[in-house]
């Protein structure tokens, strides 16, 4: 047995090093997501992606050699829960808040963060939005400490239109069916606005209740009566699945242009119904080539599943923050969030899909997109089926970008 004194001597430098680090509080990142209840499935995918990204940032040295700490909060699926948990996160010392599922929750968080930052100069927070795509968040609600690394309705629709047009799958008559809340209304507006560029007419627009409809066949009748060639929808979850299944069983001859068809479980559940329909994605492994394959492999090795749906954009958003953190000097060991926000505005990284950067004007990320069609020829299969997403058109960040909204008048710190 070794002498205890020798052991102490050996441990001493290590202990001193550790205590030096402990004086500087680690940078805390708070994930405020829906981790329980009916919408938990989506929240848990955000969590998997954020965990993966934090691990990767820490493996690369974290913030000046100090690992980031991830705190997780369950917002219980609603804005009220999110407001509560945001307070808890603040009192736990979080400086970066991450959230993605639901624009309603995103709207609450960005407002609360804005007010907190206004009242507590020097103790600001950043809200990294990795999935709430409502236009208002980068429009009239835009604010300096909100950053969105996700698409938005016009970006998605423009890409879809261009991709489907190239594939000659668009046709001249488009039916817009969306969920009746901020995101669905944005989608409807974007579909109407895209008509001139896409050379189509919007034959009919429908907004319906969110998540309440089991039977979509009455809507399918309406679509059939309009003789639409393409149905464009921002629907997600059961509202997308049930709509497509109802269309298929009725033998509707229209293609679907969607945003969320790559949600896990959709392809398995829809089966052949999904074939030949389109989706605008922020990541497609086949389109991303070798870098995409490497990312897929690494992600699967760390999390046990392949990155789909919102996971890639969440990882890229976090890595963008990691990059911005590198630009912020260590100073007295406490992260200056204002400097981080300024660095984030200038940050850009190379993702497997291409260059991703932040637009300082409205804090909307400029990110590459891909439009894909569900096909049996896809290289990567989805949900354990023989189908997957075959890319038909890629867009660089510049091509996918749409101009910032005029309604965004951001108050910048001097």
């Amino acid at each position: 047995m070794k002498s205890p004194a020798v052991l102490k001597m050996a441990l001493l430098p290590g202990l001193m090093f550790a205590s030096a680090l402990a004086t500087a509080a680690p940078v805390k990142i708070a994930l405020v997501e829906t981790l329980s209840g009916p919408q938990a499935a989506t929240g848990l995918t955000y969590r998997a992606a954020v965990r993966y990204a934090v691990e990767r940032i820490n493996a690369d040295g974290g913030w000046h050699g100090e690992p980031l700490e991830l705190l997780e909060y369950d917002n219980q699926g609603g804005p009220a829960g999110a407001a509560d948990k945001l307070k808890a996160a603040i009192s736990d010392g979080a400086q970066i808040v991450v959230q993605g599922a639901s624009s309603a929750i995103g709207g609450q968080i960005t407002e609360d963060v804005r007010k907190w930052d206004l009242r507590n100069p020097g103790r600001e927070l950043i809200y990294l939005n990795v999935g709430a795509e409502a236009q208002a968040l980068t429009g009239d609600k835009c604010q300096f400490y909100h950053f969105r690394v996700a698409g938005n309705a016009p970006m998605r629709v423009n890409a879809l239109v261009a991709g489907m047009k190239q594939d000659q799958a668009l046709g001249s008559k488009v039916y817009a069916i969306n969920q009746n809340y901020s995101w669905g209304q944005d989608m409807e507006q974007a579909i109407v606005d895209g008509a001139a560029a896409g050379g189509y007419t919007v034959v009919e627009k429908t907004l319906h209740d969110v998540g309440k409809i089991q039977d979509f066949s009455p809507y399918v009748n309406k679509i059939a009566a309009s003789h639409a060639d393409t149905v464009m929808t921002g629907n997600w979850g059961s509202d997308l699945l049930l709509l497509m299944k109802a269309a298929k069983t009725a033998g509707l001859k229209a293609r679907f242009g969607t945003v969320y068809l790559d949600q896990p479980g959709n392809i398995a559940n829809a089966g052949d119904v999904a074939l030949g329909n389109y989706v605008a994605q922020t990541f497609n492994p086949e389109a991303a080539g070798e870098a995409g394959a490497a990312f897929m492999q690494d992600y699967r090795a760390k999390t046990g599943h392949e990155p789909t749906f919102i996971e890639p954009q969440t990882v890229f958003g976090m890595l963008l923050v990691g990059e911005a953190l590198r630009q912020v000097p260590a100073g007295d060991g406490k992260l200056n969030v204002r400097k981080l926000a300024l660095a984030l505005e200038q940050a850009s990284i190379e993702t497997p899909m291409g260059k991703l950067s932040m637009r300082a004007q409205d804090h909307q990320a400029l990110l590459p997109l891909a439009v894909s069609v569900v096909s049996r020829d896809a290289k990567y299969k989805a949900d354990g089926t023989d189908m997957g997403f075959k890319p038909v058109k890629r867009f660089t960040a510049e091509e996918a970008a749409v101009p910032a909204q005029a309604s965004c008048r951001m108050q910048r710190p001097d």
Binding site: P38, K212, Q214, S238, K245
Partner: protein, 313 residues
């Protein structure tokens, strides 16, 4: 003609599906006074059991065995959980079924995952029954309707024409007297609970393949089933049938109506004014379709609190 025929047929069949789930709920309430919050969970269990069994037995045996299994689960719930809390009153029963619904959802997520599962209409039923206008009418929808009608007829005959039915009905109306006459009322309760659960399970097994089988399916249908039972009158089987059909048809037909209150006011020359005010006045009826059942429930509760066919307070 077909503009109206298809929505009507769709509405009727959707209504019949609602009836399959709400029949058990209303029977259980009528008999035991229990508002069973876990009832829609039995619907979900039916779908998941059928999904799990179809790999082993094939589709047809699966949709027969699955309701039986759900019925057994129902019996166990009644015998070992509800009966114990029965003496503490209705609030306890209600709370325990509420808790049970959460437990069932979490168990389903544990075994089958968070996402919709791959449970689909079998190829033998995946064809068009007939064509209306430009659209096919799926045969499976008709199948769902037939199953529901069959179930209604069977339950109705059972209750009104058989000896078992007499005992059950007497146990509903005068449980003490039925017991005094030598009938085992707790066992009748257990049986009714099991049958009610099995009916919801059958609905799930049949509808899960057509719609989606996901951990959210109980939640999506659960609220609507309560609306059906309230509108129909708590405890009334015929009322549940009437209310189900009413809700099915109203939601289905409303989707096709693009009028708003402003259009109605335009009849009196106030259309422009209404459009200027905006808000609720320009909301299209079609975008409210899924909320109409709740408006209907409000109306029924205001005008006839016991429901359309209900006789209980």
């Amino acid at each position: 003609m077909e503009q109206l025929a298809t929505p009507l047929l769709n509405g009727v069949i959707y209504g019949l599906l609602l009836f399959m789930v709400s029949a058990g709920l209303t029977l259980i309430f009528g008999m035991m006074g229990i508002l069973n919050f876990a009832h829609a969970s039995f619907y979900m269990l039916g779908a998941y059991f059928a999904y799990a069994l179809q790999d082993v037995f094939g589709f047809w045996p699966a949709i027969i065995v699955s309701p039986l299994l759900v019925g057994v689960v129902g019996i166990l719930v009644e015998r070992y959980i509800l009966r114990r809390v029965h003496r503490f009153g209705h609030a306890h029963e209600l709370l325990i079924t509420f808790g049970l619904s959460f437990i069932i959802v979490e168990l389903v997520k544990l075994f089958f995952g968070n996402y919709p599962v791959n449970y689909r209409v079998p190829a033998s039923l995946d064809f068009a029954a007939f064509t209306m206008g430009s659209l096919d009418y799926p045969a499976y929808r008709l199948f769902m309707g037939i199953v529901a009608i069959g179930m209604f007829v069977a339950i109705y005959l059972l209750l009104s024409r058989t000896r078992v039915g007499i005992v059950v009905r007497s146990a509903i109306h005068r449980p003490k007297m039925a017991e005094a006459l030598g009938h085992n009322v707790p066992r009748v309760f257990m049986g009714v609970f099991g049958v009610g659960a099995a009916m919801a399970g059958l609905a799930g097994a049949v509808a899960g393949a057509f719609y989606t089988t996901s951990p959210n399916m109980a939640l999506e249908l659960g609220v609507l089933v309560f609306v059906v039972v309230v509108i129909g009158g708590l405890g009334s089987l015929e009322g549940a049938m009437l209310a189900s059909l009413l809700i099915g048809i109203v939601t289905s037909v409303a989707v096709g109506i693009d009028a708003s209150l402003a259009d109605f006011m335009a009849l009196f020359g106030a259309g422009d004014l209404a459009r200027e005010i905006g808000g609720i006045l320009v909301l299209k009826v079609s975008s409210l379709a899924a909320s109409l059942p709740f408006a209907l429930m409000l109306l029924v509760l205001l005008v006839r609190p016991s429901g359309l066919m209900g006789d209980k307070e």
